[in-house]
Structure formats: C-alpha cells, structure tokens
C-alpha cells in the first residue's frame, strides 16, 4: 500500500439491516462459568482481560456455573423473577395505554428486565440510583413499588407526583433510591459520582449507582464521571447498559467496534467487568461484587451489561426501519425471564404452573393499579394539576416576577 494513497472515512455499519439477519458473532461471548472472579481489591490493570470477556453464570440448560454463581436461595430468585415479570407486564400494559392515547408517550425496557431487578436486589436501603429512562425495573423489582403513583405520572393526571411537569417515565423517588430522571442524556452519570463523593466526604456508608446507555457513553458526562470516580475513588457503580442500539444507531457508532465499553473503564483506571445482562444470576453477582468494592473504599467499578433492546426505542420510534425485525429472537443471550424460569425449574424450585400463576397474579396487580390510577384522570381528559403549579418549585419560594406572571395567566 502506498503511503500516499487516498485517505478514506470509515463509517461503521451494523451487521444486520432490514431484510437481513444480524450476524451476532461481533459480540464475543464467553461460556457460562468460564470467567474468573478476582479479589475485591484486585489491581485495576489486572481486570484488563475481564473487560473483553463476558461474565456469565447460567448456561443454555439453565444450570448455574462457575465462580460468579451468587448461590441465591430459590426464595430470593423467585422474588427476582416476580420483579422481572412485573416490569414486563407493566411495560406491556402501559404500551397499550399509550396506543389508546391515555398516556402521551412511553418507553419500555423489554428484554432488559434482569439488569435493574437484580441490581436493585443487590443494593442496600439508602443507596441511590441515578437511572436513565429505561430502568423502571429498579422500582418495579421492589415489594413497595409505587405502581399507582407511577401510573399517575404516566397519565400526567391530578395525582402525578411530578405535577404534569415531566414526560411520562421521568420518575423521581428519592425515598426509594431513584434519582429524578433527566431528558438530557448522560447528565446523571457524573451526578452519581458527586453523590458518592458526598457520601464519602460525610463518612456515610451509602453508595451510588449511575446508569447510562451504550449510545450515551459518547457524551461528555460519561468521561467526566469516569475521571472523577477514578481520581477520588468514589463509592459508585458505573453501569453501562449496552443494548446494542441508541435510537437508530448501532453501538459501533458509539465506539463499540473492535472494543468494549468495559474497556473504557480500565483505560481510566477503573476496575471493570463485562457481564451478561440477561442472566439474572450474573447481574446479581457482579452488582454485589461492585457494591462490596465501593463499600470497602476500594473505589468505583464500571460494569458493561450486555443485552438487547427488544422493543422500539420509544413509542415515537419504528425499529423495523433500521434493523432486522427478528433480531431479538436470534440474540444469543436470550430472554432474561425465560432463562431464570428455566433455571428455577432445573433446580426443582419452580414449575410451569407456578409460573403461569405468578404471571396472572402480576397481571391482576398491574390492572388493579392502573384502574386505581385512572380514577384520577389523564392528560387526555384534562384532569391535570392546576396551571398555577407551573410557577412553583422554579425557586424555593415564588419570586416577584413569577407572581406577576402567574397573575397575568389569571391563576
């Protein structure tokens, strides 16, 4: 090759487009149980191999394998299963409500339910998540999931805890360790680090957990979060949910080609894991490992969760325009609910009948919550918070100029 031959711009492409089958070999998977589990105080450079491997516990037959097996009791696993089912059922019903124009907009987490559910169970009360719009499972995994209130938020009705100010799904639940969701991508990632630094400054014991999508890692706040977390050894878990897609752009456009998002962490001096995000046991084990490191002042951990965004980006999106329709069926990491169910059945702790019963029970629970929430109206039928509340909370008190404006609006 002549060194003076013309330069070319490389523009990455996904390995599948509508009408084709995606070639998922780009994912580089490891067999279940094959990846080592380092000491909590491992030197960061020594996690270099882990950021290209994939921590997995469940094999294709639903058996739990290897050093990352968290050895959870069937009872705990059943709680996790219920959380995932609740998330999926909730999403499905809210999608219908959106199509019925009861709610204005929705974002589902289909296929990604294991990540938030197992992570929520691995954290302690008082810890604080800084989620994106696709971590409803962090809330719905909980026994005390505030489902009616959540639906009121989605309906933007007169019981919406956010008073109609935010788009649906942009929940805020301080008391449940769930930070207010921002519409501006990535901003929460560095805030999680700041919260964790504050906890360390105060000699507290609570840790933070920040969330970001593969696409959003290109934003500045991903970098500032890694830098600050490393410099101050902040007690924070930095979660990158790599569901392969941003909106229409593939993870290679975010820099995933020939590299991994976990590698970003090691590059910044942060111990990092790449984990099967559709494997409830692996998610629990890795979350626990990272949480323990944080709590013992061993510093931050970055975890790349490998998963697949099975549904549309949002109700405004049509993924058949840019990717094969059957991708999720062909995605090699499968469905997290089916995988945990298979495992529970394999260990003799579960049955098809029990599963069906749980599914029905959860459906009834969600239907009841929706019914209750709908009593308070919706954006569509105009049962909103009053217009005057628009002027509240801009500042702690309402300053003169906002009083004048409120008067002008006549409210």
């Amino acid at each position: 090759m002549d060194r003076r031959s013309p330069l070319r711009l490389h523009v990455p492409e996904p390995t599948g487009r509508p009408g084709q089958h995606t070639d998922f070999s780009y994912l580089h998977l490891s067999p279940a149980g094959a990846v080592r589990r380092p000491q909590l105080d491992t030197s960061v450079q020594k996690t270099g191999d882990l950021c290209y491997a994939l921590v997995r516990v469940l094999d294709d037959d639903g058996r739990a394998k290897g050093p990352w097996n968290p050895k959870l009791s069937p009872e705990v696993l059943t709680v996790g299963l219920r959380g995932m089912i609740r998330t999926r059922v909730f999403d499905a019903r809210m999608l219908v409500a959106q199509r019925q124009k009861k709610i204005s907009f929705y974002m589902q987490s289909l296929g990604e339910e294991a990540i938030g559910c197992a992570h929520a169970m691995a954290l302690d009360p008082g810890d604080m998540n800084f989620p994106t719009y696709r971590q409803q499972s962090l809330l719905l995994a909980r026994d005390d999931a505030p489902m009616v209130e959540m639906i009121c938020q989605l309906l933007s009705n007169e019981r919406d805890p956010l008073k109609g100010r935010q788009l649906p799904v942009m929940y805020s639940y301080k008391k449940l360790g769930f930070f207010s969701i921002s519409g501006n991508l990535a901003t929460q990632f560095i805030q999680a680090v700041g919260w964790a630094m504050a906890s360390a400054i105060k000699g507290d014991t609570r840790i933070a957990s920040g969330w970001i999508g593969d696409g959003s890692t290109a934003e500045a706040d991903f970098h500032t979060a890694l830098t600050f977390a490393h410099v101050y050894r902040a007690p924070v878990i930095l979660n990158v949910v790599n569901n392969q897609w941003a909106i229409s752009s593939f993870q290679a456009i975010a820099g995933g080609e020939g590299s991994t998002f976990a590698a970003r962490g090691v590059g910044c001096g942060i111990a990092s894991l790449r984990v099967d995000g559709n494997d409830f046991l692996a998610v629990y084990a890795a979350s626990r490992w990272a949480a323990e490191r944080a709590r013992r002042n061993l510093g931050p951990t970055l975890i790349e969760w490998l998963t697949y965004r099975a549904g549309a980006h949002s109700t405004s999106d049509d993924p058949t325009k840019y990717r094969p329709a059957d991708d999720w069926e062909r995605f090699p990491l499968g469905d997290p609910i089916a995988r945990l169910k298979t495992h529970l059945i394999a260990i003799g702790a579960w049955s098809e009948a029990q599963h069906e019963a749980m599914q029905k029970e959860v459906e009834a629970e969600v239907i009841a919550a929706q019914k209750e929430a709908e009593r308070f109206g919706s954006l569509a039928d105009g049962h909103l918070f009053s217009n005057s509340t628009m002027f509240d909370d801009v500042y702690e008190d309402v300053p003169d100029h906002l009083r004048r404006q409120r008067r002008q609006l006549g409210v």
């Binding site: 008073k163 954006l379 217009n387």
Partner: protein, 338 residues
C-alpha cells in the same frame, strides 16, 4: 413549483447543496441511515453516500467540534442537533470556537458551518423537547441566528446559511414542520400541501439573510416575531380585528433593523412575541432596539408576549404557550394605551 412540507423543504435545501457543492457534508445523531428523527435527511445518505451523509455518536459537543475542524479544512458541514434542548453540551464549541475562530485568527481560519436544530413547543414534548434558546445565540458575537416560519423561507434561508461563510445557527420550529399552527391546538391544522407558502421551487434559490418580511401589512400596531409565532399573531390580528402589521424577522441576528423601525415609526405601537422564556429573551433586545430607535414615535409602551419564566411543562402546555388569546389581549392593550 412543488408543494412541500417544511421537512421536505429543508431536505430539498440539503439535497440541492449536496449536489451543487462537493464540500457540503451532512451529519448528526440518527441523520444517516435512518434520515433523522424528524426525517429531514431521509434518502440523502442513499443518494450521496456514507461519507457525505452520516450518523454520529451521541455527543453534541463532538458534532460541533468536528464541524469546526471540517470547516477549518475547507468543508461546509451541515450538522444537526436532534433537539435545540440538547445544544448545551456543544456550547463551548459554538461560543468559544465556531463564533470566534475567524476573529481570533484574523481570518487565517474560518468556520463556514451550519448547525440545524428543531426548537419550540406545542408537541407535548415537555421541558427537554420544547425549548427556544435563540436568545443565548444572539448574545454571542460572531454567530448568525436564523429561524424560518414556512417551507419556502426554510429552504431559501437554509441554502443561504450553508453558503454563508459565518457559523449559522438554524432553528426550525418543529410545531410547524407539517403545517402552519395558529395556536388553536383544539382545531385541525392546515397541512402545508394546502398552503401557498408550501409552494417551493425544486431547485436552487435563496432567501437572503438579514432580511425580514412583512408577513401581514397593517397600520394599527407592529408585531415583531418569528417562527411559529407569526402564525399565532396573524390569528390574533384576525380575531381581534386589530390591523396589525406583522414582521417575520427570519434572521434574528444580525437582523433587519430598518424593517422594524420603519413599521413602528408608521404604527407608533409595538408588540413583541416569542415562545421562549421572557427574562433576557430575545424580545428584550428587540424591545430595546425599538425603544432606542423609535422612542419619539411610540404612542404606547412596547409590550412583550412570551413564554413564562418556568420550564416548559408537559401537561400544562397550553397554559405556557403564548397563544392567540394572550396575544390578542396584548394587541388590545397596545391599542388602548396612549
């Protein structure tokens, strides 16, 4: 002459310029294969190839940063910020770099970039899909800010912006992408396909920067506005029966001062309208200019009609939006005062 929506008109402008000028490149989040979340670049990658129309990482700072570097090389990048609400990560590159490069290098390097961004509310987008940050750009010397109100102007202005050697912020009021919107959200919208300003030449033409347009001639009061709000102003004039002269600025900065001053000198009254929050909004500059240039002609206080100084709400959208009723009251106030 073809009938185009604003989206089609913008796409046509980029199409024409990609075709005429090999230095033009188009990029942004979801802009390439998919054609943009508002479909403004649909089909352009298929037509011009992946190295001239492409997707970028989700990094507004990076998008504008590479645009500045490409401009310094000699290209004419047309970059899309998916929503104006998301330009903030790019503000250092816009303010400290794009706007200053020519001046600080004494012309050694220039920055002929165009940064498109959909702005404004009225689509239930909530606080992060509804903002109108034009005032922030107009405060930055070295930037040009443009904001069209219809498909014809959108195409002609976008071509002018791409051909201009200064960095241009090109704001697109998304509420009128598909048809003019007069603020009556409970009534159906007329699509551009049935509107004269939806008639747009298929080929190359320009609408000059720094030239305002008398959107509706009148003699009672001057309404200075831009974007969606000129349609609301028209509705308010018709509904109140006040013969307002509506000026569509089109270029916000640098602007067509003469058009404003001439009209206010004639009517003696002035109402300024924008959707953005009020305080330090661009209306304040417009009011100041009118006050400075027409003080002795003013028969009544200049009135500003704007969004409130609150985040743009999701549910209470129409209480926030300065609609024809609020505007009509302002017109009456401007007429009654003396």
């Amino acid at each position: 002459m073809a009938q185009m929506t604003m989206i089609q008109a913008l796409r046509s402008a980029m199409d024409v310029m990609l075709d005429r000028n090999p230095e033009v490149v188009v990029f942004g989040e979801d802009v390439g294969y998919f054609g943009g979340v508002f479909r403004c670049t649909e089909g352009l990658q298929a037509k011009y190839g992946k190295t001239r129309v492409f997707d970028t990482p989700i990094s507004e700072g990076g998008i504008v940063g590479v645009a500045v570097g490409m401009g310094a090389y000699g290209l004419r990048p047309v970059a899309e910020i998916q929503f104006a609400d998301y330009f903030y990560p790019a503000s250092d590159q816009l303010v400290s770099e794009a706007a200053r490069l020519r001046h600080r290098s004494a012309g050694d390097f220039t920055c002929p970039i165009t940064v498109r961004m959909p702005c404004g509310g009225g689509i239930y987008g909530g606080q992060t899909h509804s903002q109108s940050p034009e005032a922030l750009f107009t405060h930055v010397c070295g930037l040009r800010t443009v904001l069209p109100s219809n498909p014809y102007d959108a195409k002609g202005l976008l071509i002018s912006a791409i051909e201009n050697d200064d960095p241009v912020i090109f704001l697109e009021p998304k509420r009128i992408y598909n048809g003019p919107f007069d603020g009556h959200h409970d009534k159906p919208v007329v699509p551009w396909s049935r509107h004269p300003l939806g008639e747009v030449p298929e080929g190359y033409f320009t609408v000059p920067l720094e030239s305002a347009k008398i959107f509706r001639p009148g003699k009672d009061v001057t309404v200075i506005s831009y974007g969606t709000m000129v349609w609301v102003a028209e509705a308010a004039a018709n509904e109140t029966g006040i013969d307002a002269e509506i000026i569509d600025l089109r270029s916000l900065w640098p602007l067509d001062l003469d058009a404003m001053v001439e009209s206010v000198k004639k009517t003696g009254r002035c109402v300024i309208v924008h959707e953005a929050t009020r305080t330090s909004g661009f209306g304040a500059e417009l009011l100041s200019l009118v006050q400075e240039h027409c003080f002795y002609d003013l028969e009544a206080p200049i009135v500003r009609v704007t969004g409130w100084d609150t985040p743009y709400p999701h549910a209470q959208e129409w209480a926030y939006f300065p609609g024809p009723e609020r505007l009509g009251e302002a017109l009456k106030r401007a007429m009654e005062a003396c």
